[in-house]
Symmetry: C2
Subunit: 283 residues, 2 copies
């Protein structure tokens, strides 16, 4: 199944047969003080630079989140979307917990955007899906609902099914819904990795949809986090994940290696060209 | 299926449900000039140190290879086996292309050793399997035969089947045969990774036996080899590999992370204790 996301000039295809899609996570003020201050002071140069750096480091899509207390997301999100679209030509992933801000962002996003995110909560489904439909966007659906995050793969699959069904009722086809089966910290619960990996396999088998994940939460609280994040990405991609919201500066090299090992990079072309462009950036 | 390897005091169980087993590869003079010279000059301190370092870095079993041109392997292999067994208490993997040297090594190896290796070639099967049987050892079987290394998973599975069948005829049970489905360099053939990963899955499904791999060959000729090796290990373990002949100093951290993510490390105990012991080694 192909999920297609577009900017004015670029089309990104998320599917099992193609290289893994990297959604750059860095334009998000949560835990990112410098960006928070830049947003509050309208200092756009730093945001532009974050956009350019991520694309140069291999981001296929850029996530944009401007959720800072004291800042009017509805007014500000479209501004930053336009700013980012003026310096890079990759598709955009509009990221907000506020449905009104999502709509405002989508209204200016060029092409076909991705929405981050809905989940299986009634209020979220009712608020977010009509906006996704109205703008012809695609949406990430997190496998949690009004009862929280299920602790077993079966119920995560059930939540995914509910999101897909509700989307279908509004005329949003399954290819425009990317399921994120969520991963908790393995440091807090050592079955967290297995639950997510099984969920990926089961959702993929049951619905055939694309699977996204946040790839750094898994290592929270443990030492040497990059080692865990890299291993998790490989296991998750091996299990059927097709895109991730992640830091391209940190994980693109690993992702290129995984694509190569999975036969998705003829003659190692993408792996080597990523290596060369990183060498140039350093040199 | 459990493959059990033993020293005098330690038992190592290779199986899907347990942590991945690390077979330390560093006592092997191929491409290791310092060791080659130490072997030729009978400088045993360096070999002792290699053994100790690997075990401290997480090796569960130590591979011992003394194949240097001009050195009498049949006389020398048992000497080094005894040397290693005198400083560390992990089981041994006797590594030689010379069946006579294998027998000599096995005759002094404490407990139940692993033999590296046989393959599907007639001459190898006839020479190596009777020795494995005689000493009650386990053996690694490489999926290549008189026609070379098959370029598709189906024929690698067939070679594995042949090795298992020939072993069974001599009374060597399947649990004492660990299959290595071989991995070629992805830089030379970008389908090499997929062929090996499919072979792992198919051999596991067809015969249920344990799977070993050499984990660094895959990145030969490419830049940033550790990134590829780490990703390959995760993909291979996710596919069903249960042990690897590898450098514990370089890859144990990744292996501990993978075990943790696959739910084989309750409370992240092994992951954290490896991290701590590496910190101590550094500090």
């Amino acid at each position: 199944m192909q999920t297609i996301i577009r900017s004015v000039s670029k089309e990104v295809i998320i599917e099992l047969e193609s290289p893994f899609v990297v959604i750059g996570e860095c334009i998000n003020p949560t835990g990112h003080k410098k960006l928070r201050e830049a947003l509050l002071r309208n200092e756009y140069d730093y945001i532009r630079q974050l956009a350019i750096n991520q694309v140069e480091s291999g981001a296929d899509i850029l996530d944009i989140n401007v959720g800072v207390p004291g800042l009017d997301e509805v007014a500000f999100l479209p501004e930053v979307v336009e700013l980012v679209a003026s310096v890079v030509d990759v598709p955009i992933c509009i990221d907000s917990a506020n449905p009104e801000a999502l709509a405002a962002g989508l209204s200016v996003a060029p092409g076909k955007a991705l929405v981050n995110s809905t989940n299986g909560e009634e209020a979220m489904l009712e608020a977010v899906l009509p906006i996704v439909k109205e703008y012809g966007a695609a949406v990430i659906g997190l496998t949690m609902d009004d009862d929280g995050i299920p602790n077993d793969p079966e119920r995560r699959v059930a939540v995914a099914g509910k999101i897909l069904e509700r989307a279908a009722k509004l005329g949003i086809p399954a290819e425009n819904v990317v399921i994120d089966p969520l991963v908790m910290a393995v440091g807090a619960d050592s079955s967290a990795g297995v639950i997510t990996l099984r969920s990926i396999e089961m959702i993929r088998r049951e619905f055939g949809v694309n699977i996204s994940l946040g790839a750094s939460n898994v290592s929270f609280g443990l030492p040497e986090r990059p080692i865990i994040n890299q291993a998790f990405l490989a296991l998750a991609i091996g299990a059927g994940a097709t895109c991730a919201i992640t830091n391209p500066m940190k994980l693109t090299a690993t992702i290129r290696a995984i694509d190569l090992l999975l036969g998705r990079d003829p003659f190692a072309g993408r792996y080597i060209s990523h290596y060369r462009s990183m060498q140039q950036k350093l040199g």
